[in-house]
Symmetry: C2
Subunit: 342 residues, 2 copies
């Protein structure tokens, strides 16, 4: 039997010590790390980026099918993705956790092993945090700091008319993976001896449980001297993010439905659930792909990148935000996205 140490056995300070970063410091900018009231960073002539995200048990994740190590990994990735979305490099992570005594010290160590794995892979230092009990469930809040040259920050508000609307990777995968996991949970609740066969859904389940952030795309921009005019990461669904860019840039757009990249496994699964693949790709969240706009002059650079799809272009604000169907009719683009209050 695995060892279970109750949280109240060891107290906050011992727990922090047990979970505390002992790995090598990865960033020159990390000056002070863990232990003191603050972590300290020093950025020379760089912009410091900061973003925070909270994840709540029963809202953002379900313990029935989320291994804790994956949860830690994904929580970190979600935050790194926000820094990449501004064309920055994530460098320091702070983690606040509140958990009920349903969780053991070992469970928290699992969670942290996922956090550290993501930090190592992406070159980020876990520099601080806070830990508390909660009366029910688990609550995670992560804050990520990152660096960026001042002239290279990409905002949501920079899209210009005639810019190309682009997206990395493929969409709807994380959402379709979630549908499968929720279905298997329901089957398991009805009959706990049933063993799910998930071999046909491996890719989409991994996209849901262990997503990656698009560090590679940011590096590709750097290496190919491409600076997007605007960018956002896709956490709430493509439609919602396109509308954010257009609203903040005071522009309209035309988005071609048949240009939206959808993986075969995603599209097959969405059909199993009687969801049109386009709909799943437009409104499914948590893909953590990058949505960005580039000036048309950069088209020759981007056209051969198999991992970037051009899905539309930016228009004048007065034209509104439109979806163009394969039949070449246009309809208003609406966000149904994720609403964690409903």
């Amino acid at each position: 039997m695995e060892k279970r140490t109750e949280l109240e056995e060891i107290g906050e300070f011992s727990l922090i010590e047990r979970l505390n970063p002992k790995h090598k410091i990865l960033n020159k900018s990390t000056v002070l790390c863990g232990g003191d009231d603050c972590a300290a960073m020093k950025y020379n002539d760089k912009i410091t980026l900061a973003s925070t995200d909270c994840l709540v048990e029963g809202v953002h994740f379900d313990m029935a099918y989320t291994p804790l190590k994956h949860l830690g990994y994904k929580s970190a990735i979600v935050n790194f993705s926000d820094i990449y979305a501004c064309n920055g490099k994530p460098s320091q992570l702070l983690v606040s956790i509140a958990v009920s005594n349903r969780y053991s010290v070992e469970a928290l160590e699992e969670l942290y092993s996922g956090l550290y794995l993501a930090c190592e892979k992406y070159g980020v230092d876990l520099v601080g945090g806070d830990m508390s009990s909660s009366q029910s469930g688990m609550f995670l809040s992560l804050t990520i700091l990152g660096e960026c040259d001042e002239e290279k920050i990409v905002k949501r508000s920079g899209a210009k008319q005639h810019d190309l609307l682009c997206v990395s990777g493929n969409l709807g995968a994380a959402y379709s993976g979630l549908l499968v996991l929720q279905r298997e949970k329901a089957v398991f609740m009805a009959n706990s001896s049933s063993q799910p066969d998930l071999s046909n859904y491996q890719y989409i389940i991994e996209r849901q449980l262990k997503p990656e952030a698009r560090k590679d795309i940011i590096e590709w921009f750097e290496n190919n001297n491409v600076l997007p005019t605007s960018m956002i990461d896709i956490s709430d669904g493509l439609a919602s993010e396109v509308l954010h860019i257009c609203k903040d840039s005071h522009k309209g757009c035309e988005l071609y439905i048949d240009k939206i990249p959808v993986d075969y496994e995603t599209s097959r699964t969405l059909e199993e659930f009687n969801i049109l693949p386009d709909n799943g790709a437009l409104n499914g969240g948590e893909d953590y792909e990058l949505l960005f706009t580039i000036d048309q002059k950069d088209y020759p650079k981007i056209k051969d990148n198999k991992d970037i799809s051009i899905i539309g272009h930016i228009t004048d604000e007065s034209l509104g935000c439109k979806l163009v169907t394969p039949q070449n009719t246009t309809i208003d683009l609406k966000a149904r996205g994720f609403n964690h209050y409903c």
Copy 2:
């Protein structure tokens, strides 16, 4: 009747817009604020400090006697205090909140009004955040960023033998205020028509519900050219914090019980609860005073500051951490402090 807007009526984005910072940017270092995936800051040749804290309903605060505006104010102060404890200046705040639908939009606005009030008073920009639902209760996580000249960062680990151990303000007040509030809650639960008379406890209740951070002490250090050798803020109780400094500095100490500053209202209240005032001051949390060590050469500068008490001195590690009683006997210093897991 006051207006109550349900959270699910307006959705996350409208809610963020409604609560979003529209006030003037206070720090030159704030480059990008709200709206984008990241907030952006730029510090020239300065150290960036970062700290995060979480506050959980039912653990850190009780809605029965905590007005939401006070909760927002206190949450911010707790974080500012961490930056001051490193001798820094807080500059940007990020806020993550998860709340159940028991809370209305107006309730969150109350909370934010307290956050903004603290930010204005201390010159901090609220630059970003995240908002989510929770299945029960409220969870707050704040991350504060601050600035400091590299040669002026004060760590917990810098105390030297013969240094003087000092504390700002007075101790045990927040804890005694909490005892009164808990007692009044119990009375109210037993008889909801009872109206508490709290006029004899105003100072300590304010210390509990609306504490301040010691910006003034940090400014005094600056103006008087005093650089503490080590520092920490008192969130978990004096005993616990003294032990942190001694442990991280590999030193011992002698702490004189009769030198610990305790306000009259605190001491009278603790006695009502049959708690020795010294005990309350040593182990009560949430005072957010600063505990620090200074070199003896700075004694002439500090001796006339009525708001700083010298409570002991640093000794060799082999001598351990000792309390010196008024009868001049010594006993081991132990932390009972706050343990949010028990």
